[in-house]
């Protein structure tokens, strides 16, 4: 099946089977391995990317469904070697340990940041990241990093 979309601003054309998940297309076909795959059942949030500006779980979408869409992955957050504001805050506040979940957190939060909808209070932030699991349990530092960007 034909797929024509834009990924991180670049046009992508592919002919792929419908069963190919967007997460696998991004990782295996496009070789953008920043997007990590955790549970493949829509629970962990590690594979979160943006489709037309909305944060979505790329393991719960077939790649062909992104036809005509603008897809953004964690690779889009740094421009010319410069970290984006959320990445910088995560780096400065040690908001990652093993880092596996980080791309998913960043893409969820980036979608909110662009809408000017990053919560500024701890409860709001914890609510906003409730769809992302960090098994190093580094939530406190993640909350701190988001707060630094939001304020």
């Amino acid at each position: 099946m034909k797929l024509a979309c834009r990924v991180n601003g670049e046009a992508v054309d592919a002919d792929i089977p419908p069963r190919l998940l967007l997460s696998d297309f991004i990782r295996h076909e496009l070789r953008l391995t920043g997007t990590n795959v955790g549970c493949e059942m829509g629970v962990c949030g590690a594979c979160t990317v943006m489709v037309n500006g909305d944060p979505v779980r790329s393991c719960l979408m077939f790649a062909v469904q992104a036809d005509g869409c603008e897809v953004e992955t964690v690779e889009s957050l740094s421009q010319g070697g410069e970290l984006g504001p959320l990445q910088r805050a995560f780096h400065e506040r040690h908001a990652l340990q093993c880092g596996y979940c980080t791309p998913g957190f960043l893409m969820t939060l980036e979608a909110l940041r662009r809408r000017g909808a990053l919560p500024v209070d701890e409860n709001g932030i914890r609510d906003a990241i409730s769809g992302n699991i960090c098994r190093c349990t580094g939530y406190q530092n993640i909350v701190d990093a988001v707060m630094a960007v939001a304020r």
Binding site: R19, L21, E40, D54, F62, G131
Partner: protein, 279 residues
Amino acid sequence: MKPPAFDMVRPQTVSEALQYLAESPDSKLIAGGQSLVPVMNFRLAAPALLIDLNRVAGLAGIRCEAGVLRIGAMTRQQSLLGDPLVVRCAPLLAAALPHVGHLQTRSRGTVGGSLAHADPSAELPLVMVTLDAVITVRSRERERTVPARAFFTDAMTTDLAADEMITEVAVPAAPADARVAFRELARRHGDFAIVAAAAQRTAAGLSVAVGGLEAVPRLCRRLMADFAGDPPPRGRWPELIRAELADAAPLADLQADGDYRRHLAAVLLQDVLAEVFAP
């Protein structure tokens, strides 16, 4: 953890989608895919053909007219969150929406998809039962309406025939004096509720239901009758709630056994009643 091979079609109109549905016995409609894709990833479902509704025109959007809030089947859950029309016409729905999945799943997940999936713990079926919403379904041959209170027939099972799809759900608009309450307990915010309770009180009376307790949302008719006139004194509520739940057939799974679900239902019912009857 990868779905087996299947074909996909992307109809542009409802009639085209219904045509595929009627002609392909081993097909499945895909809306937001937030329930179907995990099930396919686990190979618990392996349809030969997926009919993708994401390009069908005219199925998304809401409007409120003649005292009814009409929600198109493909309306994304996230798009309803914070919508002033929803807040005004269906405040109970507005209160429940933050509990529906997470931002990432709400961005794809649809209202019609959630109703058709009919998970016993899902919030939207519970809200539609509480509000006495009416679901419009279409097949190639006809269109019919089904009250939400008759739509859910068993866990993950609805009144939909194999060749039918949901096109719209119509929610009676709440009067300005409506008081609503929604409570649920989930292990993690946004996960499926273990048990959830919803209530709306208007001058016409009380509507209250509980989800996650039984295979389908339980409309608490007995309680509704008990609270029809002047509310009974607070001291009697536990006994009335117990009576309501006496014949419940609670679900049991690894998360919670039947006794715990019944206990939780009583607690949450008490909470929502207290909220809508607060002085």
